[in-house]
Assembly symmetry: C2
Homo-oligomer: 350 residues x 2
Amino acid sequence: MELDDRKKRVLQAIVDDYVATNEPVGSKSLIERHNFQVSSATLRNDMAELEKLGFIEKPHTSAGRVPSDRGYREYVDSLMKIDTLSAREQEEIEANISGTVDEAAELIKSATHTLSETTGFVSLSMSPRLRKSFLKQIKILMIEPGKALVVLVLSAGVVKDKIVRIPNFLTDEQMIKLSGAIEKNLMGKPLDEITLVTVESAAKDTEIPNPLLKQVLYEAYTAIKQADQLSIYLEGEHKMLAFPDFSSLGRARDLLGTLSDSGMVAGYVNEMENQAASSGKKDSYMIRIGQEITLEGLDDCSFITATYNMGDTVSGNIGVIGPKRMDYSRVISKMDFVKRKLNEELKKLT
Amino acid sequence: MELDDRKKRVLQAIVDDYVATNEPVGSKSLIERHNFQVSSATLRNDMAELEKLGFIEKPHTSAGRVPSDRGYREYVDSLMKIDTLSAREQEEIEANISGTVDEAAELIKSATHTLSETTGFVSLSMSPRLRKSFLKQIKILMIEPGKALVVLVLSAGVVKDKIVRIPNFLTDEQMIKLSGAIEKNLMGKPLDEITLVTVESAAKDTEIPNPLLKQVLYEAYTAIKQADQLSIYLEGEHKMLAFPDFSSLGRARDLLGTLSDSGMVAGYVNEMENQAASSGKKDSYMIRIGQEITLEGLDDCSFITATYNMGDTVSGNIGVIGPKRMDYSRVISKMDFVKRKLNEELKKLT
DNA sequence: TGTTGGCACTCGAAAGCGGTGAGTGCTAAT
DNA sequence: ATTAGCACTCACCGCTTTCGAGTGCCAACA
């Protein structure tokens, strides 16, 4: 069911106009704004057809047409051409990302911030998926009797730590010995291959009494497992209130309510990433429109994400959430640029 | 200009009714709901008086009265009696705070969460003011050539760390020696007494070449200074949208916009704390109502904070932001209870 | 077969309008 | 100082009217 050329143009024009004006667009105004070489009656016929095919719909009988989710989908998949950013825009983004920050987490946060600023939407980032990164160092520092700090240094330059409880009577020297033994045996292992058993066997050849060992090893293990937990960072939620699309208090509340459940959002982003990966994605971005999003209250939103990389095995996501009535071309090109800059900067860190 | 007894009762009744119904309250309905032993005409006179004194005002000529900021102020300062929580409420709060968490930051976060849940408002917490805490340990861990991790252990059981850049050719042993020297000299010092000079002189008696030293010391110093920077955590912003008081999109946007600037909010909380401290506060809570709040868009809110303590010298704040048309008594008693529980749990940690 | 002008029809948005009722201030009597 | 009474105000509700952009359909045309 291919659309003929003019129908494509019509759909494209409807999306463009609707995005620009937030008014349902009618056959007359289409003729005025774009120079189709046909009459409004002809367009009316085309529009009726497009509606039958599910690309557009009318809010009520006597109004213009509005793109449906499917219409937007067609638009982003084959109608729009991605535009390039002006030099000034590029500079602005670059200035914000390539700052003085040289910790990966800070860098990612600054990219997220820039993304929200430049698009005016909600932006988000997922922490890097560290499962596949490997342990470069693990140190257990005695803080005081009964309390220690486990410090993990991972490939890709990430450092994680966790305060843990340990048996009171463990001495400083025992701890150093133990820490060394664990490190020697786990060094170079990817996080997802480390199990409690691995950790326990790593400390076999120390002569520390077993009952003391047990707890420390378990805590070290939890510290490692905690390191590869995903977390999400969201920014600019309030900006959604600026869009007429959410001027109904109810919608706005649902939306912000859902976004406040960061675990849920994180899960969804993760799902998107997995789907894209398993379907052999070709694009540099992933996109979900309106009802395609399974999160409550995001029916009027679009969700666009991209993947950043830290080294060969570690990656994460950045993304934006905006009204589905958005200028997809601009947003995507902006996100793409932010992503590329972020990747460049991350590479410098390693 | 003291209010006579009945006028006090009238003001109190107006606040109570208005909080409960969100409708301007008139003389007739006052008579109905409360049993004043006088006629509505008498109350009208009293109300006219109260209005002249600035405690109440009318939204428009032919409507009932609404408390002014000054009215609320009078109410919280001398009219309301703080009620006690039911056993069930106490249990609910206790269950949420005294969890398995045993890191101070986590504990504070969980208290903040509970606060938002139980009040239905925005809640917030400030990180502990660590200026007065003293250094228990400082370790500099070599991560890889050119990169190290500075780990600070502070009194009150707080651990902070920061990744820093160091000269490439600094060896592991040099680092250990240096780290030891710094620690020996700085141990026990309150953070706010540590200056760059202190740090530099702490490393005098190592035989490491000066140019190498300089950068490390500077980085150690910045790590220390960074540790006592204040940060704020906000939760439940979206809940504000549930209140009819912010049903105008414009107000809601202003409010959430302001709250999203966490630096600004943190500054304000800090200011509140300082004012309270310097004026010899008596209450266990601080409160700002409506226009008293100097943040933009919070004219219809009240801001209530309390202070939590970690050890003798370190403290921070928790608080809530809700519509100024709130049940002050309940909110205050809840916050007070959360604070007490939090303090108990924090004490266990040290 | 695709295109066009014409026309009756639809329906939301905006504007106008009168009634209702809770509330007020004022005054004169208690 | 308190009260009953009364005229007045004004937001709110529901109703009707008008307006106009937009539609679907039809008959005519290339």
